[in-house]
Amino acid sequence: MKLAVASGKGGTGKTFFAVNIFYSLISAGKCAILLDCDAEEPNAALFVGGEQAGFDKVCLDIPVIDKEKCLYCSKCSESCYYNAIFIIPTSSIIRVIEELCHGCGVCNYVCDNDAIGKKEKPLGYVVNYVLDNGARLIETRMDVGVYSPVKLIRAGVAAAKGASLVIMDSPPGSSCPFIHTVAGADYVVLVTEPTPFGLSDLRQSISVLRQLNKPFGVVVNKAGIGDSAIYDYLLGEDIALLMEIPFKREIAEYCARGELFAVQDIEFRKQLLAVFGKIYRNYGDRDRKR
């Protein structure tokens, strides 16, 4: 089963929930992989540690223009949906703006003069970690200056393919990086906080998950701050409230130091396992259960 942990708004405790439920599962003897899909800010390793055990470089094929062959017909530039080819035919200037290029290959296809070749542009890494107890962490890490983490996320999801239990730490927001993460999940846990900002961002995430037809439930973190509007919303929409985690300064301090609260608090660990059990019973991999 693949369980994605996401949140519309950043900083609601999504990584906190992901690393703690992961720890609780492996300390209960489950064989699980933690997949950090937040390639722009991969932070799960800070909490679970582990020994680095190899990595794969992820690259994008981008065009290289051969100025000897180019006739400055502008076809490539006009066909590029991402405006990634800059051309001034009268001055014989043509340039690929690498930061904007999505590596789609349209320009290669439309050029009649065989003037466009390919080269590899590094986007980042998929890093493997082995933890003390044999569990694994797969981290996607985007290079600074790269426009989109999507290809890295897909590489990360592919690297975790075949594993029986994967906990995915999704990127924040509700656009592409989020969608590409949850697309591979069987169930999505949305972590939010009971504030007006939290509620607004939660609604946005939920409308995407409904379009995608993904089952999901909500964890209210930092319960006790803010107001009760979020509970009214969940009730009104008949959305499962999986768990409430009270706001405690102690928890915030554990996180600040990069420590796992579930290591200290056995009760918390039990609660997380109970949440997982409930999800697994309803959405776990049917084939494997048989």
Binding site: S7, G8, K9, G10, G11, T12, G13, T15, E40, E41, N43, L46, D61, S79, Y81, E99, H102, G103, C104, G105, V106, Y109, V110, M142, V144, G145, V146, Y147, S148, P149, R154, P171, P172, G173, S174, S175, C176, P177, I179, H180, A183, T195, P196, F197, S200, D201, Q204, S207, V208, Q211, L212, I225, G226, D227, R249, A252, E253, C255, A256, R257
Partner: protein, 288 residues
């Protein structure tokens, strides 16, 4: 002057700080470039005045009556968005990037590109000036295009900084939306907090800002969360020559104010936190 507030990691209080600085400015253009999760309009409930539709992205649509399953498109699509499912060619709207290559290669002209125009650029007035924000339709790609539009609109409304200052509430991460929000700014302010994750994000943002050559400062929120980590931030900034605009201790009033749709400066104007914010505001805008 144009300043951008970013944080890398969410939850450091970036939006609340941006809102507070706006209310201390009095006459600003507040641009909410966190288009994925726009929050300033929730807080300030502005008078919405002007709407512009925005084409977020497009996707390939297949006309099955014209497709003879030749599979040429599958071979060409570099996003693995087209597959053969139960003997029929299918295009996944999730994975399609909208590049248009399949439509070009299809011999039967069975694929057309369709645009989505349901995202919005909104200009509005609120109690401290003008506000611009984007409403990205759920599931739309945040390519940074809408961010650039929000920013351009804000610049127009401020007469390119001649009439008033621009405060930009930036998006999370270090990808395209962030880059679009920070290029050309007079100052980038990274709101961080003394936690391992926030510090790592701050480092990545600092390297992004310096690679673009931007004037960057740091603001430490929840500064009393962890003393050691706080020192780590100050040491790091000293080493890199980054100015620290100030330190704000953890204050639950930020959330209290938010629940009541107020900035903290309006909610508890006499508090210690607000006086710290006043100093920070002065430090940012007088150092122009």
């Amino acid at each position: 002057m144009e300043i951008v507030i970013v944080s890398g990691k969410g939850g450091t209080g970036k939006s609340s700080v941006a809102a507070a600085l706006a209310s201390l400015s009095g006459d600003v253009v507040l641009a909410d470039c966190d288009v994925d999760a726009a929050n300033q309009y929730i807080l300030y409930k502005p008078q919405e005045e002007e709407f512009e539709a925005f084409t977020g992205s497009r996707e390939a649509l297949l006309d099955r009556t014209r497709c003879d399953n030749c599979m040429i498109c599958i071979e060409y699509c570099r996003f693995d968005a087209i597959s053969l499912t139960e003997g029929q060619v299918c295009i996944s709207p999730i994975f399609c990037d909208g590049c248009g290559l399949c439509a070009k290669v299809c011999p039967g002209e069975a694929i057309v590109m369709t645009e989505h125009r349901n995202s919005m650029l909104v200009s509005a007035s609120f109690r401290y000036g003008r506000m611009v924000f984007g409403k990205l339709a759920p599931g739309e790609e945040n390519s940074g295009k809408l961010v650039s539009l929000v920013k351009e609109k804000a610049r127009q409304l401020s007469f390119y900084g001649q009439k008033s200052d621009i405060i930009i509430d930036g998006p999370p991460g270090i990808g395209c939306p962030v880059i679009a929000s920070i290029v050309g700014a007079d100052r980038v302010i990274i709101v961080t907090e003394p936690s391992v994750a926030a510090i790592k994000d701050m480092e990545r943002l600092l390297s992004l800002c310096s690679s673009i050559g931007l004037n960057t400062g740091v603001l430490i929120n929840k500064s009393d969360l962890d003393r050691e980590k706080q020192n780590e931030i100050t040491d790091l900034c000293h080493k890199e020559g980054i100015h620290i605009h100030g330190k704000i201790p953890y204050d639950p009033m930020f959330v209290d104010a938010m629940v009541h749709c107020r900035s903290i400066c309006e909610w508890v104007p006499g508090s210690g936190t607000v006086s710290v914010l006043r100093d920070i505001h002065r430090d940012i805008f007088n150092g122009r």
